[in-house]
Symmetry: C2
Subunit: 108 residues, 2 copies
């Protein structure tokens, strides 16, 4: 199924970029806290490798999560909402049809 | 060039195992301190990925460094001496010919 082409004005792209930036910063802030917390609790080898596995998974996750190419923006934003890094309220300045589509995607 | 077969008595294998254990514990202790130190200093994303890269490298290094198969013991021990995780004094109870060979390998 081909997703019908969605047009983004430069204003809307800027709104999306700001939302992505906000989510990313929140994501990284939580990651840093989590790493520090993990590290403090390390007492044996297995804890070190668990931290390594955790970082490998997070890096993979974050690398793919902020795709800002126009074709993927709807998916990117809906995924960030599903991951509780954004809410629809962060996108209130987007056109209503885009918000409706993003909202629909969060339920898929 | 084939390494001539070196025979290890069970006593000598036990000495080698003890030395490996000592080196491993020292290695892990240093690793844990290092990870905690790294983690405390994290302030931005790049620091997190640097910690991840560091852990990937250390895991790879440690995974290969403690090969206790009889055929590899000479190499394993000499490598640990080169890495300053053991000294020849830790192997003083080994037969003199083995110590001489290990010492030679540390200079290769």
């Amino acid at each position: 199924m081909t997703q019908p082409e969605v047009q983004w004005s430069s204003e809307e792209k800027e709104i999306a970029q700001q939302a992505l930036k906000k989510a990313y910063e929140q994501d990284i802030e939580a990651l840093i806290s989590s790493v520090k917390e993990h590290a403090e609790k390390i007492s044996e080898t297995e804890d070190v490798w668990q931290l390594h596995d955790f970082l490998s998974a997070k890096r993979h996750d974050i690398d793919g999560k902020y795709d800002d190419r126009e074709t993927f923006l709807m998916f990117t934003l809906s995924k960030l909402i599903k991951d509780r890094l954004l809410t629809l309220a962060d996108l209130e300045d987007l056109a209503a049809d885009k918000r409706a589509k993003i909202s629909l995607l969060t339920r898929m």
